[in-house]
Point group: C3
Chain length 213, copies 3
């Protein structure tokens, strides 16, 4: 905890390591985490990290150095965010996810369980590492694979198990291997017929209900 | 351990958390785990869980609240079972698996490493979450993806890397993206020619040998 | 630590378990790890393991029993190596990877994040377990799936999200579900135009630069 400051009202489990030193040769800067953080057991957060208020981690989470992350960040069990990422507000990363170095994730993005992100177009090459950019409000389905440097457009949805090899237009549903556009996001219907319109101007049910509150 | 009871003959490593409190607003009920549990390091089991005898966990396993699980449950390293699932007897879940909320898993099911299960047909929607149902004796291959609400029939086999988007008939081998039926389970041959009949009336070699003992 | 010996100059975090006993019935042999190991929090290494010098592990790593591993082995967060594998020198295994029992990995292999390896052609069968062989210098892309018994040839590259069901020739780029040959490794161009030749006689940029030093 020598290299980390955590805001008021935070709750931190045992066996949590904050301000963990990287093996990379960088100048050490104290990690700063905002108010009301909830950090669960066996989470490790490195030095040189800035995270906003209301952080929530699951168990066995790793957040590496040189990450800048907004408010309301949730990252669940057995997931890792590698170094050098930029992550906006209200981002939710589910279980067993890997976020590669230099990934850019804008506000309100959701990564479903098992999403794996790449950043090296021809491994191993330290020169060309470039993560994808996932734009505001986009949702990446379970076990999807994102290739280096691609852009997922605002409010789009990547289907489960997809491999995204090229840019995804905004407000679009894509799926498959490789992922291809299937329809506009607002045209998607609920297969269970439980909600009338899953997406309205790209916004999902939960986001609309929160806004209405 | 205040919110958990573990049966006789159990062996629990250090750094195990039992009866861990959920952040969801539910009435707390003590977790009850049967006899002869073997719980390995960094496993976390929440409150409001019932698990039968002979539980075995690997390391870094998370079992969330409101799960009801039968006897002989094995769940290995870095896997998580999210809340509200129903899991039968003799179920085996391998490494790096994610089981989504409200998944139903019947007796003798096997989930291979890296299986990822979805439950939200249009994320994020709290109203439509519905896990798949994996029926008795079914086997899901490595890194397969199961979509919300689908049913995998009894004694079927889902091939490695498949994305299952529709129901799988019983006693059937399916594979691919999306997964499609390839043959009856009993027709499958061993590619290594090491066993004569991999499946007999849908039962695998191990199950048949155990029954013969 | 009773069942493990670690070489000089090693640095081991708290909450690391070395020489962990397996539940399998084998004769216990002390684990031996070479010099300058860097073992991070919540790593578990079983008994009956031999690892060379300069081991580096991430957090929450599991290395099971009866593994023989060379020098310079890196294995990152939330990955597991199951029992009975043979792993050469200079092998790098990234985050959230699962290496199945009896997998053979030769020198300088790279497994990208989320790679999942199978070893049972018709689960559950204890008789036919046979891992793949990944030959010298091969690279397996993110979230790829390797089926039992296949051979990935020297210096080949398996694309992200691929499912490898048959042998991969040496010096070849393959991708897709199922993975099929696309081109010779030396013909691959950098999509970002940042390096002139990603691979030269199959060697990647990093390997060539190291050799030049």
């Amino acid at each position: 905890m020598r290299n980390a400051i955590v805001g008021e009202g935070s709750q931190i489990d045992e066996n949590v390591l904050l301000g963990y030193p990287t093996g990379r040769k960088i100048e050490i800067i104290k990690t700063v985490i905002g108010a009301r953080a909830r950090i669960r057991s066996n989470t490790v957060i490195y030095t040189n990290v800035v995270i906003g208020d209301d952080l929530e981690t699951g168990h066995n989470v790793v957040i590496r150095e040189e990450n800048v992350i907004g408010d309301g960040f949730c990252v669940w069990n057995n997931s890792a965010v590698d170094y050098g990422c930029r992550i906006g507000n209200g981002v939710r990363i589910h279980n067993n996810v890997y976020v590669a170095q230099y990934t850019v994730i804008e506000d309100d993005v959701f990564l479903a369980p098992g999403v794996i992100i790449a950043n090296d177009p021809h491994p191993i090459c330290a020169k060309c590492m470039r993560g994808p950019t996932i734009k505001k409000g986009a949702r990446i389905g379970v076990n999807a694979t994102l290739l280096p440097g691609i852009i997922v457009g605002e409010y789009s949805l990547v289907g489960a198990g997809s491999v995204v090899t090229v840019d995804v237009p905004s407000h679009t549903v894509v799926y498959g291997v490789p992922a291809r556009p299937a329809k506009a996001i607002d045209e998607l219907e609920c297969p269970l017929n439980l909600v009338d319109r899953p997406y309205l101007e790209g916004r999902d049910v939960r986001t609309r209900e929160r806004k209405a509150m």
